[in-house]
Symmetry: C2
Subunit: 407 residues, 2 copies
Amino acid sequence: GTFKFTGSIQGVPEGTVVFPREPLLQVEAPIIEAQIIESALLNIINYSTLVATKAARICTAARKASVVDFGLRRAQGDGAYLGTRASMIGGVSGTSFVDAARQLRVPAVGTHAHSWVQLFPSEIDAFRAYARIFPSNCLLLVDTYNVLESGVPNAIVIAKELKAAGKDILGVRIDSGDLASLAVETYRAFKNAGFSSIKIVLSNDLDEALIESITRQVESPLGKVSRAEIKLRQETMDHITFGVGTRLITGGEQAALGGVYKLVAVDGEPRIKVSENVTKIIDPGIKDVYRFKDTRSSMLFTDVITLRGEQAPVSGEKIHVLPEPGKNIVIEPGLTGEPLLQPLIEDGVRVAGDDAVSIDTGRARCKEQLDRLDPASRRFLNPQPYLVGLSARLYRLRQDLISRHGG
Amino acid sequence: GTFKFTGSIQGVPEGTVVFPREPLLQVEAPIIEAQIIESALLNIINYSTLVATKAARICTAARKASVVDFGLRRAQGDGAYLGTRASMIGGVSGTSFVDAARQLRVPAVGTHAHSWVQLFPSEIDAFRAYARIFPSNCLLLVDTYNVLESGVPNAIVIAKELKAAGKDILGVRIDSGDLASLAVETYRAFKNAGFSSIKIVLSNDLDEALIESITRQVESPLGKVSRAEIKLRQETMDHITFGVGTRLITGGEQAALGGVYKLVAVDGEPRIKVSENVTKIIDPGIKDVYRFKDTRSSMLFTDVITLRGEQAPVSGEKIHVLPEPGKNIVIEPGLTGEPLLQPLIEDGVRVAGDDAVSIDTGRARCKEQLDRLDPASRRFLNPQPYLVGLSARLYRLRQDLISRHGG
């Protein structure tokens, strides 16, 4: 059968940084239409948000280094298409999933397998054959036998042969061993041989914690080191790319985001679903979300959820922060609030512009917003919660409905 | 462009229970063809095997109760199609993912949302409206307000109204609270009202550990209880269905299976890839796998990997069990060995029959093999490893190649 959606949807544009209790999408439609799209929306939004978040965490840990997606072989089936898209929005710069790269028009990156090296009588023969096929895109996997004693010296031979033919080697990939020290020694060897623009791709079951540890080991070695050594190590960081697979495309130990889709109003009347678990109570009514930034620094200050139709919060207004009962903050002077929810579909017709769903725009939006979020809220251990509050009117409505429904 | 695979593939049929170090698929093809299909094979096999395994664990924990897949909303995008198929093979008996149910021809199961109840002036009105639409398939969600004080009494009223109209209520779903005791009290109430064939669907972020705990609480309550109470509780178990979502369709904390695709021979010559990590060394050569069962009990005894062309292992033969060096077992008299790998594709043409990929056959195969696996190897805590050995010839080849390549 054919299904025609006749309702309206508001939502945050692609790449928007969001926080707990904020509506990402708000659907107004006849109940049957709203329920038919429920599972599809939850499936798409939950997984995309999970992977974009994981990608942003991984890219934060990688700092100056770029990150590429190597997850296809461990992805959850065709979910890899959606996951690759989401990881680009979260800050990843390319993927080894060639078909997704083509469909999404994002960079495809990759190298040969260990089996390519095993096929040939020697590693240098394998490298030479690969360089003949990909002279302009030659990334060599150097850990089949021994990274520093075999792989890197052989790759330098190939780099010289390519140079004689007027080409530049792209770089090397290291997929095992002590990645931080191997990266530094690999960069040192290539630099000494005159190839200081080489890329070094590191991989092997990485995630944000391992990447943070590797960047720290590269940049800040233990013990006393010379200034020249520190400089070399900083240069090394500029040449590292992290290839992240399983734990990016699946979310790792956190394989799902628990987003929900709840009824908040019927015929304009706010509704609430009470629960014994207070964090499961959804704020009632059709809402707007305002994000307040410092006018001068543009740093994010707080988000405020209001009832639609309310005036946007103004300086001096008191905002209720949950879950702490009674805690509240005041909108300071010098803050400006912008609405986060935008009309995406109105009466069944798409009204959002392309930039609401563009990968490039979404990626830039995500990066810009993360850059403006207090580093204390961005750290992995013990982050400071970013404040999300309710307007006084929404807060009162919520409390009224809870007490009326026996909460 | 068009790609034509001209090689051959052997593999274990759908639903086969497999163990570490066993080849699930063995591809013989020109290297370029073998590499082109690498990522697709790994993506499909890894995720399917992960979810089928998780489903089998969950169904083992559920014992007599059936399990249905409720995972779509938390699945990793379109991976849900493959995951739903795999969960059926692992023992799940239906899914709430309606489109996958249609495509795979498996049972679709489900109920209304909490929002359905919120839409109506009262719970009984909502139930009555639902029963009018689905008189023959009426499963009511009873935890919107209070399971035992509101949901169950109202559902019993509906059951009586349906009965007066010549229909049977299907059952109720409980999605929050103390599931084990709510299930027992719900069954007791329905039985007392004359509805002893009701289904009770339990859900709420379940996995095998929670299900094992719930079945234990239902069947073996703490303290002194009457024989009649034990009987009622056993009957309750017969009426329970577990609805499992997120942790089934994603694998939960284990979101990926680390299967690999490695080169083991070139032009018939065995190859090995050594690694500092001994568990990463892949056995060399083109292989066969034999499964030995006790002739009388049909219980699984051991699996043996051989080189292709070797005679199948016979009684009295010594088999090497890895990773323990020097540990070996002897094929006892009264055991029969059957080959696990079957030809699936030969010279580019599919030769496998439909039963190699059928969901029903695969599901039956999986169940039968699990039933024949020693319970000590099936338990969740401290399972006894099932023995997988190498033939003497394969073991010698492996050791020769490792020492030749500096392992």
